[in-house]
Symmetry: C2
Subunit: 199 residues, 2 copies
């Protein structure tokens, strides 16, 4: 018990391997679904044994939880950058979209689709839901700023947010790492998802 918990939080060897594991897990979950991927599937991708994963994570539930935290982080990061870039509401939205897809299809990916939030344990579920709602709220606020400053046409921000987020969240369902398509997504998605907003 002087093992994991005794570590410095910043132990990079551990953190790096753990991050590789989370990516592998996200990949499997997105491909084969939660139920369809066993710990062995994830371990195989890393050249490890299923039991080895327990060195990094308490159990499968926590593996999912960590994947979702990571996914939420990616969204928040894109949002933060877009906001700090300034500009009018429309520009911020478009930048957010670009940053988010760039991260998703880039080497930070794959990002897990949050399909199994309800099967997380209550504390984890609540935390992830809170992060998720917070992100949606920030996006809706961004849309409202755009409407206020005249760069975005009047619209139902809740529904518009749901539509755009859905399109983003679905990407990992059909994108599986092909570099050409990745470039395509980055080139097209920000425009596709924002062009309808112009006032």
């Amino acid at each position: 018990m002087t093992t994991r918990l005794a570590r410095k939080p910043a132990d990079s060897r551990f953190a790096l391997k753990r991050d590789r594991m989370l990516k592998a897990a996200a990949f499997c979950f997105n491909q084969k679904g939660y139920s369809g991927t066993s710990l062995k599937d994830v371990a195989d991708q890393l050249g490890l044994t299923d039991a080895a994963l327990y060195y990094y994570v308490r159990n499968k539930e926590e593996l999912v939880y960590q994947c979702y935290l990571r996914a939420a982080e990616v969204g928040r990061e894109a949002m933060d950058r877009a906001v700090s870039d300034g500009g009018n509401g429309f520009d911020q939205v478009r930048r957010y979209l670009r940053y988010h897809v760039e991260i998703m299809v880039g080497d930070r990916g794959p990002v897990a689709i949050m399909s199994e939030i309800p099967s997380l344990k209550p504390e984890h579920r609540d935390e992830v839901l809170a992060l998720s709602r917070s992100h949606s709220t920030r996006f809706e606020a961004m849309l409202e700023r755009g409407i206020a400053d005249g760069s975005i046409a009047q619209c139902d921000v809740r529904m518009t947010g749901n539509a755009i987020m859905g399109a983003l969240n679905w990407i990992p369902k059909w994108f599986h790492g092909d570099a050409t398509i990745a470039q395509n997504i980055v080139d097209e998605f920000p425009h596709i998802l924002s062009s309808g907003l112009k006032s």
Copy 2:
């Protein structure tokens, strides 16, 4: 063995109950995820025992499979109606969107999110994938007709299709039956998802 298979295909008592079961299953799967829903969860919603479900379906895999067939059918139906309504490409797209969301949030719903296709057995998986691809292809063709007839602006139809389908497919993740919101979706989504296409 003179039971199920001896039935007339149109035996309405059986078909109706089975359909109720598929809706209950879709509801559970969308809420709690595939792994998170046991057959008991589905049975509880119907006031039945888990074992009773086996009267209608061979096993859990087939339950999912049937849910997905039903989801595919809903999409095809909306597409068929929109096409047969005629008009230019843009009008057809907008109508397709309206029909599809109407069905999804209406009493034909809930429609299962196809998150677990890979865990279907090969024959089923291939069939569902084929249906799914066929639907996407038809939608892309619709976009191309719109571009050809000048009602839709030049765009990458593949990416645009992916974006719009993603937004649609994600709806069951956040819509859970509230009638007010259902109306909202029907009122807003077709416009939100098509306004960016105008040429």
